[in-house]
């Protein structure tokens, strides 16, 4: 079935032997890469805009100019990131068709419509982001605040819709399939499938945690560099408190989800626990990989996995052997899921400890700017939270393999059989690297100019132009 390419004859031959089209590997890598890029922007659409409104509200309510300045700057950062998110999201919708026609052609009727709902929310978000960014100092302050309120709400709605589609792939409910064709759809069951609320709540909290720590990290760096102003402390506190308060809640939600996965997606749970054989009194393995079907390395804590799954050491956990051979994930996939889960939980524990450290500092009334080690840790908390987000996403996506839609569609049947994906993937990597670098350069330049010249000098994608901006352009042209 695999087309024997000329340059990659050996590889193609190998893949043909395993029944996998040669497009599968690059298609999966490309999807992972572009989704991994896009998912970074979600917390900023959902949560940074909320922080922005909190600061805006506080600024208006208490006449707090520092808070208003924070809101204004965050809105400009959100605008840049929203622009990037809009285009990387568009690419994803193209990729669904170009890379996964087997999925869209067969199940588009079933799980395509949540994306239509997502489009609706995205539309609203795009409109109100424009209104809010352009409205600074152009409308009455409270009317302007109100134009911002739909932004995080629409972003949240859009996220919920995408998660409905994704969770449906884990729990494909609400469809009747006959001869590989969808003959009946029950939209409410599709959208609110068994996995929806778990994934939704988990992602929602993750978004606020990532954005909160990322924002706090920026101002922690400022404090470390000696900019100990009320503005910096306020920026730090709004971000940090929002994130740190939600970390314990995320633990409760995550723990609940783990037990749900144990019940509803035993193959994924076996991969998370790195468990080849079914058994009771299962130890929790920290680290370690699966090699030739056996667990290597790693630290085992006796009985803990069984206790966590069913509150009793005698709880039976299904191992990978319980999965039919044709649907069994590869050792590499299992190891990836397991390690990603460990990273997610491990880093979350670190973030929880960071929040407790902060509580202790507050209790002892220690001035923030002198707590240099605490601030250094805070500076890294954003990337750490992002790593958690990525790991969690790897657990749910790789953990579903080899299925694209559990029980209905294998990934190798979903992938396109047309053309060579590698050049497309290569172009995507190059362009995304350029776009990502461009976004960072632009954000950095905005920050420098805020520090050097004040806020009105800085143009943003959705913002009106400025006199100072043009004067600068004029100078640039002459030089």
């Amino acid at each position: 079935m695999g087309k024997t390419g000329q340059g990659l004859a050996t590889l193609a031959h190998h893949l043909a032997a395993t029944g996998e089209p040669h497009q599968l590997l690059p298609a999966r890598q490309q999807m992972a890469f572009t989704l991994g890029f896009h998912i970074v922007l979600v917390p900023f659409g959902v949560a940074l805009t909320t922080l922005m409104l909190i600061a805006n509200y506080r600024g208006l309510r208490r006449g707090d100019d520092d808070a208003l300045l924070l809101a204004q700057r965050w809105s400009k950062v959100a605008a840049v990131l929203f622009a990037v998110g809009a285009i990387s999201g568009t690419v994803l919708s193209f990729e669904l068709g170009i890379l996964w026609p087997g999925l869209m052609g067969r199940y588009g009727a079933a799980f395509g419509f949540p994306f239509a709902i997502e489009g609706l929310f995205f539309f609203l978000e795009a409109i109100f982001v424009s209104l809010y960014i352009y409205g600074w100092n152009r409308m009455s302050p409270w009317a302007h605040f109100l134009t911002g309120v739909p932004v995080p709400l629409a972003s949240l709605g859009g996220t919920a819709a995408v998660i409905a589609a994704n969770s449906w792939m884990n729990r494909p409910e609400g469809v009747t399939v006959r001869d590989g064709q969808v003959v009946a759809v029950r939209p409410v069951d599709v959208f609110f499938n068994g996995a929806f609320w778990y994934e939704m709540l988990h992602m929602f909290l993750a978004a606020y945690i990532v954005a909160g720590f990322a924002v706090a990290g920026v101002y922690a760096v400022g404090l470390l560099r000696g900019r100990d102003t009320r503005y910096h402390r306020l920026g730090f506190h709004i971000g940090f408190v929002c994130a740190a308060v939600l970390v314990p809640a995320q633990f409760i939600v995550g723990d609940t989800i783990a037990r749900y996965v144990f019940q509803a997606e035993p193959a994924k749970f076996a991969a998370i626990e790195l468990l080849p054989t079914t058994g009771r009194h299962v130890p929790e393995t920290l680290g370690g990989i699966l090699l030739d079907g056996r667990v290597r390395y790693g630290l085992r804590i006796p009985e803990v996995a069984s206790v966590l799954a069913g509150f009793r050491p005698s709880t039976e956990i299904k191992g990978l052997e319980a999965v039919p051979p044709q649907a069994r994930p590869s050792d590499a996939a299992v190891s990836t899921v397991h390690l990603a889960f460990d990273i997610m939980v491990g880093l979350s524990c670190v973030l929880l400890a960071l929040g407790m450290w902060f509580a202790w500092l507050r209790w002892r009334r220690r001035p923030l700017a002198r707590q240099r080690w605490f601030l250094r840790c805070c500076a890294l908390s954003g990337p750490a939270a992002l790593a958690c987000l990525w790991s969690g996403w790897v657990v749910t996506e790789v953990g579903r393999q080899p299925w694209t839609v559990v029980g209905l569609l294998f990934t190798k049947d979903a992938v396109t059989r047309q053309g060579d994906i590698w050049p497309f993937f290569g172009a995507v990597v190059v362009i995304y690297a350029a776009v990502g670098t461009g976004a960072l350069v632009v954000l950095h330049a905005m920050k420098r100019r805020w520090q050097a010249e004040g806020d009105t000098a800085v143009d943003v994608p959705y913002g009106p132009g400025t006199h100072a901006g043009h004067a600068e352009r004029g100078r640039g042209t002459e030089s």
């Binding site: 990037v84 352009y134 009946a184 053309g419 350069v441 042209t477 030089s479």
Partner: protein, 337 residues
């Protein structure tokens, strides 16, 4: 129900042509605006006109994609497996374009702006060409029902070439007409003159390409040609009249009704394509009904489209009105810098 969803899909296609198309065309005029010094104010007009609305305009594309893949999944898979090359190019073009536009506005140094601006402008020409070529491939029946048609000739053929070139020309024409009105509104006479000339040239060019297109279609897509010259002929006539009237307006230097007529010409000709193609979604082998998803999905889509109308149109009107009144946009002072 399938026909209703097809109508909603086509409303999206027309909206994207009119709004997204004008944005692409603005990129065309950005590309041809001249050097950094001479083109600065022209580019600035493009920036300030597009700034508040381009993201909302772009969203129509997403709307079309989701309606297509949820409502007509078979057709969607057939299109993506056959036309993956132009689709991939268009996707990359959209990334470059969006990022180039967004970053240029936020970049401060001329060399950086030039790089971002070039990315924006070049991809603004590449992307509509690809979309036009895709439309040509679908309209001329080169996308088989089962998908996996010829990856090259499906979009490199006479009808696709016509579609691609016509798309670029129409975008440029729409954008010139819109920008001419924008320049007038901002009382920038030199920009007004520039875009008046450009609108005239683009209008005449689009007309010439359309007339040449008659022969291309007759030879390469006889079914489409037949329907256009029979069932859809009133629409073709109306489109031609609107186009001619708008070119006449541009030539005589009038503003009133220019945008409306230019937009109407494009909307009606796209509508004509839809009418000529109905009831087929792909060539003459896959009808709208055959490709349609089960009824509950179609109902949800109709619901989404109606909700979009109720929720989004008012906010869109608010945005355009605020932008149009200059509450969000720029004043003459800003442009004259």
């Amino acid at each position: 129900m399938a026909a209703v969803v097809a109508v909603f899909l086509f409303i999206g296609v027309i909206a994207y042509c009119l709004l997204g198309g004008a944005d692409f065309g603005a990129g065309f005029w950005d590309l041809t605006a001249g050097g950094a010094a001479r083109g600065r104010r022209r580019r600035h007009l493009v920036d300030t006109s597009l700034g508040p609305v381009w993201e909302a305009n772009h969203t129509w594309l997403i709307y079309c994609l989701v309606i297509l893949w949820s409502g007509f999944p078979r057709a969607f898979a057939a299109i993506t497996t056959t036309l993956y090359l132009p689709l991939g190019l268009a996707a990359l073009g959209i990334v470059l374009r969006g990022a180039g536009f967004a970053f240029r506005k936020a970049a401060f140094r001329t060399p950086e702006q030039r790089v971002y601006g070039l990315a924006f402008a070049l991809s603004s020409v590449l992307t509509p060409f690809c979309f036009g070529a895709i439309a040509g491939g679908i309209a001329s029946g080169r996308v088989p029902t089962g998908g996996a048609g010829d990856p090259v000739t499906a979009w490199l053929n006479p009808t696709s070439a016509l579609g691609g070139v016509l798309a670029v020309a129409v975008c440029a024409y729409l954008a010139a007409a819109y920008l001419r009105v924008e320049a007038h509104r901002r009382r920038a006479p030199d920009l007004e003159r520039h875009f008046r000339t450009m609108a005239l040239l683009a209008g005449l060019g689009t007309g010439a390409i359309s007339i040449a297109g008659i022969f291309v279609l007759r030879y390469d897509a006889p079914h489409l040609w037949h329907q256009l010259s029979h069932r859809a002929v009133p629409l073709v006539v109306v489109a031609a009249l609107c186009g001619a009237a708008s070119v006449a307006l541009a030539a005589t230097g009038r503003i009133t009704g220019l945008r409306l007529l230019a937009g109407a010409a494009v909307a009606v000709i796209v509508l004509g394509w839809g009418v000529a193609q109905y009831p087929y979604l792909l060539g003459t082998h896959l009808t709208v009904d055959e490709a349609a998803a089960p009824a509950p999905t179609l109902k949800v889509l109709v619901g989404v489209a109606v909700t979009a109308g109720v929720l989004i149109l008012p906010s869109l009107v608010l945005l355009f009105r605020l932008a149009g009144r200059g509450r969000l946009g720029m004043s003459y002072d800003d442009v004259s810098h």
